[in-house]
């Protein structure tokens, strides 16, 4: 089995709060892995450790066969990230953000192709902060794709979007999934996780409770009518 990410027994604390408590996980090449859990469960911290944005207190993380602490620069050339916030300068235009981020990478995907695929052309000369949430997220996704990454990290990509914008964003994400990109995302929308993710990791209080295909997780409840929402309530919220 070809794993693009292997995390082994990682822990991360903020003061006295243990955000991640001994998580081990492998991500297969080309899969869409969803991470679910309540607010404060440790989803974002786990994702950010995989992205190289935070260092774990203990444990190891290997991304694309490289240790994240020793080969951070090489890894960053090959991953794309989208954070919960759009996280861009206040007065930057869409076109400028694309040019700026493109300059950071050695390998570049055709920017015009990304613009067309994500429908950003009418918005190129607009300030990112003046766009609606959906278009800001598309801009963020475009920046995550600018280096034609092997792995795309999406931290709650559809949070705060209306149903139409969510649907459209998933259309975009699925186009890149079809190219064989590995996608790792966190979400609070169980319908999205069930529909789009190959496997789902459930995190509760910093621990990995389960990681399996949606069908198996649902089957584990022993109820034929159960949904992933029931799985969430059982594993991520229940005591």
């Amino acid at each position: 089995m070809s794993y693009v990410i292997e995390i082994n027994n990682i822990e991360k604390s903020y003061g006295k709060v243990k955000a991640v408590d001994g998580i081990s996980l492998q991500v297969k090449r080309g899969e869409v892995l969803g991470i679910i859990g309540a607010n404060g469960a440790g989803k974002s911290t786990t994702l950010e450790i995989m992205m190289g944005l935070r260092k774990p207190d203990t444990g190891t993380v290997t991304v694309l066969g490289m240790d994240i602490t020793n080969s951070s620069d090489q890894i960053k050339q090959r991953i794309g990230i989208q954070l919960q916030q759009t996280a861009l300068y206040d007065r930057i235009k869409v076109k400028e953000a694309l040019e700026l981020f493109s300059s950071y990478y050695e390998k570049k995907r055709d920017v015009n192709e990304i613009i067309e695929t994500l429908g950003l052309r009418p918005y190129l000369n607009k300030f990112v902060k003046n766009l609606s949430g959906g278009w800001q997220q598309r801009t963020s996704l475009a920046l995550a794709l600018i280096n034609d990454p092997d792995i795309i990290f999406l931290d709650e990509p559809t949070t705060g979007l209306d149903p139409q914008a969510r649907l459209e964003l998933w259309g975009c994400i699925n186009r890149y999934r079809a190219e064989g990109k590995t996608i790792i995302l966190s979400t609070h929308y169980m319908d999205e996780a069930q529909k789009h993710c190959d496997r789902i990791a459930i995190i509760k209080k910093g621990k990995l409770i389960s990681c399996d295909v949606p069908k198996s997780l649902i089957h584990s409840l022993g109820n034929d009518n159960a949904t992933l929402e029931d799985v969430y309530l059982q594993y991520a919220v229940g005591n």
Partner: protein, 247 residues
């Protein structure tokens, strides 16, 4: 290298889109300079300086302060709060490059602001500019670096934009009025003149005046330069200990 250049160019482009930065860097000092020149250009100041010898350095000192506190200290907090640096951390651009771009932006703003004041003095009031350009440039660069380090303290102490703005606004009044940059210190009662000794911009005003008037390399300038060097060292130590690009 290409990424550092592009990032620096973008930082400068974004600087020119910040209304507050433009107001404090280019408009307030220039307008103050013109208004004071109209009112006081026949007066003489501390040490027998004429208005232009005293106030060209003073207005440029204000530009150094506003750039360091607003365009750097405050702006870093705003960008950090928005998650910009966290997002950049996920790219191959390293933090040294971001720091370099921020410093270049600061120098760029100060030099442009200084040139603006010089052009107003030269063409608006037909005054002779300094014949000690090198000393003035040296003083300007040294004072800028010192205040950049204070700007980084602001962004080290303030986690939120409102806090940084509060610090900058509170610092603005003593810096503007108790440093000799706008109102001559001799006009104040003794107690306020004594307060000026703890206002770092006082020493910037003095060192810039020394540079402008060709006395930078004399014993008279040593105390001011020494104090600013101390401020620079202490600020750099505090900044290195507490400054963070991301939360």
């Amino acid at each position: 290298m290409q990424s550092i250049l592009t990032h620096t160019k973008m930082e400068m482009k974004l600087f020119f889109r910040e209304t507050l930065a433009l107001l404090f860097t280019f408009i307030v000092p220039a307008v103050s300079f013109v208004v004071f020149a109209i009112m006081f250009q026949g007066s003489s100041y501390d040490g027998g300086l004429d208005y232009f010898q005293a106030y060209i350095p003073s207005m440029i000192a204000i530009i150094i302060f506003t750039t360091a506190f607003f365009s750097m200290g405050l702006q870093i907090v705003i960008d950090r709060e928005k998650g910009v640096y966290k997002r950049l951390k996920g790219t191959p651009l390293n933090q040294r490059a971001i720091f370099t771009a921020t410093i270049i932006k600061g120098f760029f703003a100060i030099y442009i602001g200084a040139i603006e004041i010089l052009l107003i003095a030269k063409f608006g009031f037909s005054t002779n500019l300094t014949s000690h350009a090198f000393q003035f440039f040296l003083a300007l660069t040294f004072c800028s670096v010192t205040f950049f380090s204070i700007g980084f303290i602001v962004s080290s102490l303030a986690k939120r934009m409102n806090t940084a703005l509060g610090i900058a606004m509170i610092a603005m009044y003593p810096m503007m009025f108790l440093s000799g940059a706008t109102i001559p210190l001799e006009a104040f009662p003794e107690i306020l003149q004594n307060v000026s000794y703890i206002v770092p911009l006082t020493y910037v005003v003095n060192v810039l005046r020394d540079g402008w008037n060709g006395t930078l390399f004399t014993a008279d300038a040593l105390v001011d330069i020494g104090i600013l060097t101390g401020v620079l060292i202490v600020s750099a130590i505090i900044g290195m200990k507490y400054f963070k690009w991301t939360d």
